[in-house]
């Protein structure tokens, strides 16, 4: 897991490095694209954290009380779908505003 997180950190650093190298002198900064990237990153990170928290709580509850599986599983699916849709809202707004 630590190895994976290092790879993702290196990839994110590379994503920031590429536009920095591409900037020429006197060119206007495209703030819309930058803020879109940051908002998507924040939305993805928070939704990922939320999904992790939901899954961790659900698996803990299932391990404690396997008889309550149908209710917990249903609530987990609904929660994950709604959390994913929040990231999708951000993506849709970014596409519609940036395009």
């Amino acid at each position: 897991m630590r190895y994976l997180s290092r790879i993702f950190m290196a990839l994110s650093a590379l994503c920031f490095a590429m536009p920095a190298f591409a900037q020429g002198g006197g060119a206007e900064t495209n703030w819309v694209a930058i803020t879109a990237g940051f908002s998507m990153a924040i939305a993805s990170a928070v939704c990922g954290l939320a999904q992790g928290k939901a899954v961790a709580s659900a698996t803990e509850s299932l391990a404690r009380n396997p008889a309550a599986r149908p209710g917990i599983q249903f609530a987990l699916i609904l929660g994950l779908v709604l959390i994913e849709s929040l990231a999708l809202y951000t993506l849709a707004i970014i596409f519609l505003k940036v395009k």
Partner: protein, 144 residues
Amino acid sequence: MTDLLQVEPEHQFDDAFYSRAMARIHRFMIALAVVLSAGCWYRFGRWSALGFLLGCAIAYLNFQWLKSGVSHLADRATHRAKRQSGKGIVARFLLRYVLLGAAAYVILTSFPASLRGLFAGLFLPVGGIICEAGYELYTGFTGR
């Protein structure tokens, strides 16, 4: 003692009602996809309707894979899994995003005119859940 262990009839009705919620959400999703695609065709044209339908298909697949992923996870948590590793479950969970992203990329490069319809179609599960919430409210108020 046996009286204490018996479940009351109204609770049995509640359990049966809520256990059918997932099947109802599936039906709501299919109905919404058909009805809204027709409306989209009528209001915005063929390409938007096609994009919406493709978005609905992607969202439906995503929902199915999410459900099966959660089911495997629950099997693992309750020690009912056959011989499936935790890494396999996580890989399948993540592969979902890769496959959906690839499908969305192909659709976007092939039919750029259907972009808005595609994004609208991706919210199909939310629509299904909202319909289910409305149905539960209705049954709660009417007492059926």
